[in-house]
Amino acid sequence: MITVVLLGKLADLAGAPALTLSAPLDWAGLKAALPDALATAIDDPRNRVAINGALLADKAGLQAVEGDEIAFLPPVSGG
């Protein structure tokens, strides 16, 4: 299993703060497994993606395996 953690308003798009998906997943597989609105949102360059706590410089290169945690991080809120 792969856990997807959704931060900020991306959690609203998913309707939940976390999702569980089957391993393994590449970027295309991940998007196919997500609700449409969320799949579109994570392509937006302002939304960052981390795997196991490390930000991805190249989202499309994502390779997630069993036990991994993926996080979707929208722009942080100012003060």
């Binding site: 953690v5 931060l7 900020g8 308003k9 609203d12 981390a50 196991n52 706590g53 930000l55 945690e69 996080a71 991080l73 929208p74 722009p75 942080v76 809120s77 100012g78 003060g79």
Partner: protein, 152 residues
């Protein structure tokens, strides 16, 4: 003396700053900023979410950069997460240094980065004629401008 924390419960800044000042003997000055949840019209609560694997390491990273950039003896950086009510402290940054310029600038630097570059997401609960709703707070242009001051 370096003290970096995420807190899930209400805190009283004075209880942190006294011991922090004591822990840096020989200092010339201490600058402290405390941010509180403002009483804005109709806002009943503020919720801060964070992403544990990035947020605390990000704060430590920011502290490293402050120590590199300014001549500091100590740095305290405490940030709340969870649900806060208006009037509650949300952030406290305190810098101790031999000279005032380093202490003041380090606090300014840390605050600008905590506001715009740290992994926190905020939403506020507002009362309106139809009841209560949570609204996400969007990044502000002001905060991005403040951050740009430190790029040189």
């Amino acid at each position: 003396m370096r003290d970096i924390r995420l807190l899930t419960q209400m805190f009283i800044p004075g209880t942190l700053i006294g011991p922090f000042t004591q822990a840096n003997p020989g200092l010339g000055g201490v600058c402290t900023f405390v941010g509180e949840v403002r009483f804005d019209d109709g806002v009943e609560a503020l919720e801060l979410t964070h992403y544990e694997p990035l947020t605390l390491p990000g704060m430590h990273d920011l502290a490293d950069r402050a120590f590199d950039r300014f001549e500091l003896m100590g740095l305290l950086m405490v940030h709340r997460v969870g649900v806060l009510r208006p009037g509650e402290p949300i952030v406290c940054v305190s810098a101790a240094a031999r000279h005032r310029r380093d202490a003041i600038d380090a606090v300014d630097f840390c605050m600008d980065h905590l506001k715009s570059a740290a992994w926190f997401w905020k939403r506020e609960k507002r009362a309106n004629p139809n009841g209560r709703e949570w609204h996400w707070i969007e990044p502000r242009a002001d905060d991005t401008r403040d951050l740009a001051r430190w790029q040189s």
